[in-house]
């Protein structure tokens, strides 16, 4: 399958990369996040406006609004408003579906669960899979804190956080140069920071902002209203955190496709990962040399 530059065949080195708990929680998380994002957009569509503060409804100034307007010769157009600025989003946001029978809705049918408008069912999906996300996330964090995975493999070292090192990693990523040999056996600093920002920032924030929208939970932890700036601020932050997570997924899946989807997918299914053979001595990692 592979051979080193000296021509003598060397068997590819296989390592056990992901524990069974990591693999199970990863794929359950994929299901939960997909359902939560799509059902969340269904819920959002019942009132496609975001506000800042304790309260906010139709008569109040929104921070972001998805709507549709009739504009002279063009007929009805879908628009997204940021304060006083409007962007035409016909076909995606505000107005979507077939040209003959466009629907006035925030996010289009293909992005919501269910596809047709049904707030009650969207809430059922969302509030069920919110529990899946929380319990699955708790299992992941507890197991990986106990096993040392979080500290050993995800916590960046001071040396890795040095700006010159981070910059060399950024350059390697932009050039799509993937780590080889020893360096390929652990996460690089950009991976560590990205995974930690999701695990330790975005997911806790999405849980807390979700709970802050709950009038029942407000009576349990009223301080969350003060920390997050009110229920409508929490709703806006919930949406922003969800957008961050969607952005992460796009980059994550994109990099998997670029960096070797077969090997990476297999490692997240069976746990086994084939290390990229070293091109140079491990001491000169990260990654391949620049052309100079």
């Amino acid at each position: 399958m592979t051979a080193n530059t000296h021509g003598s065949p060397a068997p590819p080195e296989r390592i056990r990369r992901h524990s069974v708990v990591t693999r199970l929680t990863h794929w359950l998380n994929v299901l939960a996040v997909v359902v939560l994002v799509m059902s969340g957009l269904q819920i959002f569509n019942a009132h496609p406006r975001l506000y800042w503060g304790q309260a906010g409804a139709n008569a109040d100034m929104p921070f972001i609004e998805i709507t549709s307007v009739v504009s002279g010769a063009d007929g009805r157009r879908g628009v997204v408003r940021f304060g006083r600025h409007a962007v035409d989003t016909t076909g995606f946001l505000g107005l979507s579906g077939s040209l003959d029978d466009p629907m006035r809705r925030g996010f289009p049918a293909w992005a919501t669960l269910p596809g047709y408008q049904d707030l009650a069912t969207g809430r059922r999906w969302h509030l069920f899979f919110a529990w899946v996300l929380v319990l699955n996330g708790a299992l992941y964090v507890l197991y990986n804190a106990a096993s040392g995975h979080l500290r050993r493999d995800l916590w960046p070292t001071t040396r890795e956080l040095a700006p010159t090192h981070v910059w060399s990693e950024v350059k390697a990523h932009i050039r799509l140069r993937w780590p080889t040999g020893e360096a390929d056996k652990s996460y690089n600093v950009l991976q560590k920071l990205t995974y930690l920002s999701v695990i330790a920032v975005a997911l806790p924030l999405i849980l807390l902002t979700g709970l802050t929208m709950s009038p029942g939970f407000n009576a349990i932890a009223p301080w969350l209203l003060d920390v997050l700036g009110g229920r409508q601020s929490a709703r806006t932050l919930h949406f922003i955190a969800a957008a961050f997570i969607v952005g992460f997924i796009i980059v994550h899946v994109g990099l998997v496709l670029l960096a070797g989807p077969w090997n990476l997918m297999r490692s997240m299914v069976t746990g086994r990962y084939t290390v990229r053979p070293d091109r140079r001595s491990p001491a000169q990692s990260p990654y391949a040399p620049s052309a100079s």
Binding site: A46, R49, Y51, A55, A57, W110, L113, D118, P215
Partner: protein, 264 residues
Amino acid sequence: MNGILMSRRRLLLSGAAGASGLLLVGCDSLSRNRSVKRVLARAEGLTFATQRALQPRLALAREFSEADLSPVFKANGTMRPDTPQYLDLLEQGFANWRLVIDGLVDRAMALSLADLGRLPARTQITRHDCVEGWSAIGKWIGPQLGPILKTAGLRPNARYVVFHCADNLGNEPSKGGDQSAGRYYESIDLVDAFHPQTILAHSMNGAPLPVRHGAPLRLRVERQLGYKQAKYLMRIEAVDSFERFSGGKGGFWEDRGYEWYAGI
């Protein structure tokens, strides 16, 4: 080895394709499937039990100041009940309106607006959270429900309080889903019925309750969403179970798929 790899690859690929196909094409049929709905609905019990376990019985909803009042408090649901019975009552300024309190009580009562006005009232400025996502802050005045139920004398087998309303509701396009019309009603358990912020509001923002907000009387149960705040109250019935009413789920929106426990 290659054969195994290939078949495993094929397995993975077909699994991935199957999963995404299931998600994209099958979501709507899954959403309509009764068994799926039943499983998804089980989260409500977990949420209810968890919130009640963490929530001290008397823990209050946030109260605000006059400065926080929403400039416009959005009205939702029925704006003006159109039954002849209600229109008659409205025409006479609710002089002939009576709030009936009956069911599993020792002393059934019929209270006029004047009777309710004589009871000690609670004033609270609270946030109203619609299930659709918006919120508005309003000031409510009215007697607490708990002392009224005590006066009526709840029987030991009473477990819920059902609120019968004057309005028929239907066709709420913003929510989608089941749009069938019906008489509005709601229900809460005794924990919420005896909560200090659970009041029968006859006044809103310093004036008698406007028709679009439920005149002459609406429920405020502040630790739950807007659809629990039943408007146009006619009768309060203490029951051991709400299964015999309408769709059997304990409220107009509950019968149309929404959670009975609307604390989230």
